[in-house]
Symmetry: C2
Subunit: 380 residues, 2 copies
């Protein structure tokens, strides 16, 4: 992993924002910048004028050994009190006239912000938005390799897991099998609570596996992913138990067509909302538009949900020059190296639902579907 | 679950704080107050003067069916945009002169706070700290039943899991077995990433299961818990593979003695830091004080880490009257109905570590250890 390169890019971003220091509190961002995988710690970044930047990672006594083993290109300090307070005090001691310290406004609570104001009242703090997330959107080749491995692991588990689906089996036991196989194949964990939603419950777009039984006839949605070397995967397939009726076949066909249309729209420089629209249009045409109640996809990487989001936006900003980028939100257009999901779905309350989800890498010329699993309707 | 009773207590707390409305954004708190178990939603509470309070739960289209099924004693609104903005607008439309709206300062990001200021600029917002958490600390009998069931499930899995521990087995495969058995026995999920730390890695207080192998001789720490009906359990046992040497036996004996001393100190009205001190004193006496690098325990319930925290405090506040409680932090004393962990540990870098953890219910007269698993050193 290219920690020095990432740190350098961060420093450039901070210079664009006109801040000379930053408190990184969001743990996936901390991990990205210095490699620490534990669950408590803060990274302080100080951009010296004409000097090399200084990075110091603050954590507590539970993580002293782990931090020493993991942290790259940053000094490690084991704080006696809260890591955030120590990091802020460290920066305050280096405060210079006019120095502003950026912090992650999405990842600092109002309470922490208030506390900071007390422990380091000298610090001039500035809200920053998704500065590190913006870097993380574009994956390094090594990151794509990790994601690819996570995708393949989950796909191979699906091939076995689908054999567990039969009438009378609980959703939970299918989830248990999936998670066990993932673990046995080396997954560090699941990317999120495994969703298994059978029969009428398949109409829940976010149906965590329950004690509900697979019925004799109906859809079963499986949505799961694994974490491998810190990177997530995400996939959804919908199978049908028993003979599907005409409506079920039409639903499935429409969702599949929408999913393929979404993938077809993925290429560099396309607006993210256009990908969403491409999938949505197909479902609208099939008369199912109002049952597609979520966005078409999201970025995946160290976190299961990352920017960009593939959804309808209020406005489409013009492309900004680098000099203006500092104040721009996450870009609204796809770029090579992004890894996203394409996952339209329809959900008919009281009846059932269908969702199909692949992971897709944006390439220089278009895209590559990372998920190898077939998408023809499986009837059990 | 007594949702009306909880809502009534919340209203009383809000009156003590002098606010006439509240935005509840922390999902475990939302669940506690109205039963919603999904992953997006905001509860708006409006305390009418002399009228019944009005509770409205805002979520998005993905959760419309789930919200209808789950939400108790609150109106459900499916918002078109972000739930928080909708909830704030709803309150703003009911704004009266002098009305202040409390929000959860620990559970609202600075970015969300800024956004709120824009969508509902009329609202006079006030930071509140752990108002619902304070209610959640004292468990209802039905909640204790759920916790008890979660504890027993994990304990019974431990009896089987310990047989999986042998030299040459990966930590991950032990974790996989544990998680699979928990799922098969009906767990909705694990309370946290299962910790299995073998040999030198047992010196990591927070060692998530890795590809590391169980050595021929050394400690293995297992720390895991399950979620059942929304309530968490948490347990740790340390076993020894191969014949333990004198130092290992002394470490284990000291930690066990510290753990028993901690439990012995648990009773209503005792300061939480006194429980911490009781355990810490034993380890200090054994010359291991500086290797006990974390707090002695924490509350457990809907979340795996809840107040109270059993740690050294900077100050011991005098007991406060009800009228002063509004501005007090989480009480520093144990009360009947609290469920806490007692989990001292020692960690010798490069050598290994020991931790022993039970869950304990504070009763009217003392406490009840909920975890039935034995604590004599298991040698494998």
């Amino acid at each position: 992993m290219d920690h020095p390169g990432r740190q350098l890019k961060l420093v450039q971003e901070l210079e664009l924002h006109g801040v000379s220091a930053m408190l990184v509190t969001h743990l996936p961002n901390v991990r990205y910048l210095c490699g620490f995988t534990g669950s408590a710690g803060v990274l302080a970044v100080l951009v010296g004028k004409g000097r090399k930047p200084t990075l110091v990672f603050f954590t507590d006594g539970r993580y002293s050994e782990q931090a020493r083993n993991e942290v790259r290109c940053a000094k490690v300090v084991i704080a006696k009190g809260p890591a955030l307070a120590s990091a802020a005090e460290w920066l305050a001691a280096r405060q210079q006239r006019g120095m502003e310290v950026g912090f992650e406004a999405e990842h600092m609570s109002v309470a922490s912000r208030s506390a900071l104001g007390k422990v380091a009242s000298k610090l001039k703090l500035r809200e920053l938005s998704q500065v590190v997330e913006r870097l993380r959107m574009i994956k390094e080749p090594a990151e794509v390799d990790h994601i690819r491995a996570a995708v393949l692991l989950a796909s191979s588990v699906f091939e076995v897991a689908k054999q567990e689906i039969k009438p009378g089996v609980t959703e939970s036991s299918i989830a248990a099998q999936i998670e066990y196989m993932c673990r046995r194949m080396g997954a560090e964990g699941m990317s999120f609570d495994t969703l298994v939603a059978a029969g009428q419950r398949s109409a829940l777009p976010h149906g965590v596996a329950s004690q509900n039984l697979v019925p004799d006839n109906g859809f079963v949605i499986l949505d799961f992913g694994v974490i491998l070397a810190g990177y997530c995967s995400d996939m959804t397939r919908t199978v049908h138990v028993g003979r599907p009726d005409k409506r079920a076949l039409e639903m499935y066909r429409a969702v599949l067509e929408a999913q393929l249309a979404g993938i077809d729209a993925v290429r560099p420089d396309v607006e993210t909302q256009k990908v969403d629209f491409a999938a949505r249009k197909v479902l609208a045409k099939a008369g199912l538009g109002r049952y597609f109640t979520h966005s078409t996809g999201h970025g995946v990487g160290i976190e299961i949900h990352e920017p960009p989001s593939l959804r309808k936006r209020g406005r489409i900003p013009k492309r900004t020059k680098t000099s203006q980028r500092a104040n721009a939100a996450i870009p609204d257009r796809l770029e090579p190296g992004m890894v996203i999901t394409i996952e339209p779905g329809v959900y008919l309350p009281g009846i059932g639902g269908v969702r199909i989800e692949d992971m897709v890498l944006v390439t220089e010329n278009g895209c590559e579907v990372l998920t190898p699993t077939g998408k023809d309707l499986i009837v059990i």
